[in-house]
Amino acid sequence: MVKPLSRNQMAWRAAQDLEEGMVVNLGMGMPVLAASYAPEGREIIFQSENGIVGAGPEANEDERDPDLVDASSRFVTLAAGASLIESAASFAMIRGGHIDVTMLGGFEVASNGDLANWDMQVPNKGQLVGGAMDLAVGAGEVRVIMQHQTKDGSPRLLNVCRLPLTAPACVTRIYTDLAVVDVKENGFLVQEMLHGMTEEELQARSEASLSFSANLKPLATPDI
């Protein structure tokens, strides 16, 4: 049995696709983890929808400023070239197409790119949508980082999402603990897969039918 990627490894893999000069918004959880794994030397502008354009690393305990938090409510620092804006301006930036890439967590992605990542429908709990819908609709590319299956083994790469949609037909790429999967015109196309795994094994863990790239590569990450 092959060993799935850790959360850190998933974040690392996703981070490798961030390019010099890109404006990137990272959702809570694994996506924000990715910021620390961006390849050294690449200048990437991390936007945080509560009003930071150019967020830096998380603040050390002694440099925490209660007035400076990111959209995940973490104490952060500012990177060189940062600017600070109010919420309507921040979402104008997002909705207006000025974010090159958003990386979001996900519950389910359908083969047409539909994303469900906001409402788990937990009994007795209220709803929380936050900025996910705006990001899914506004960003140039929507990339999702999520486990390939749920804890109880249900697939997350589906024919049709079961959970409430965040936005239709928006996802371009998915990073899971098993594979890197693009969403193409005719469905899921696997670009990378864990070494030692077979196409049949990955398909068995997915509901929607998968195609495999002619140039399929092993999903390799450092040991983190």
Binding site: N50, V69, D134
Partner: protein, 225 residues
């Protein structure tokens, strides 16, 4: 001479009435007008419609609001309580005692900006094709489905800033501003609590929010916040 300072927190919230729509700024602890929210908690004002991004900050600083059933409706983007067990407000919502207008955070912001900018409604692609579009007008623009969202206005707004001058011109620190500027614009009476007051007018090209939008300035007590 214009001077928008008030001398007490009671004066700051004076006139806020039962049934009012109150907007409250803050994100992740930054820009939360804690003194004003606490004063609201101590008051007996009830039947409130509260516009706030994340409801948990309201319960954190004004637990009495929900305990005493003084909120009748909420406009927000994050209604979920932090704990596994349902919060007071989640239970009231389940019991049908609390009405909720849940908006994506960008539509929430833009609806408030629209309220302050004299735009009664706008089309947006956000939430089109989702559950949150239910009951909303749909129209296609440039091949893309959009929904019609309406402006939100308030009777009062509470916000927090770093510094004010007597005109109400404001400067924010870090990510303090968030919903403050748009809420001040969208409300009849905008009340700001500030950490410091500048005796000299702030520099014209370094002002984050024009004092035109601010009605009252509460200079926070040193120990208060």
């Amino acid at each position: 001479m214009i001077d928008k300072r008030v001398s007490s927190v009671d004066e700051a919230i004076h006139g806020l009435f039962d049934g009012a729509t109150l907007m409250v700024s803050g994100f992740g602890g930054a820009g939360v007008p804690v003194e004003l929210i606490k004063a609201l908690d101590r008051s007996k004002i009830t039947d409130l419609n509260i516009v706030i991004n994340a409801v948990r900050f309201l319960e954190m600083h004004a637990p009495g609001l929900f305990q005493d059933h003084r909120v009748k409706s909420l406009v927000c983007s994050a209604f979920r309580g932090r704990d596994r067990d349902p919060s007071h407000y989640e239970r009231q919502w389940q019991a049908g005692e609390l009405a909720i207008d849940l908006s994506p955070q960008g539509s929430f912001s833009e609806r408030i900006r629209a309220g302050g900018a004299g735009i009664p409604a706008f089309f947006t692609p956000t939430a089109a094709g989702t559950q949150l579009a239910e009951g909303k007008e749909v129209r296609e623009f440039n091949g893309r489905q959009c929904i019609l969202e309406t402006a939100i206005k308030g009777d009062f707004a509470f916000l927090r800033a770093a510094e004010a001058d007597r005109f109400g011109n404001l400067r924010f620190r870090g990510t303090q501003s968030n919903f403050g500027p748009i809420m001040a614009m969208a409300s009849k009476v905008a009340v700001v609590e500030v950490a410091s007051f500048s005796d000299k007018p702030l520099e014209a090209d370094q002002i984050h929010l024009s004092g035109v939008f601010i009605d009252r300035i509460l200079v926070a007590s040193e120990t208060g916040v």
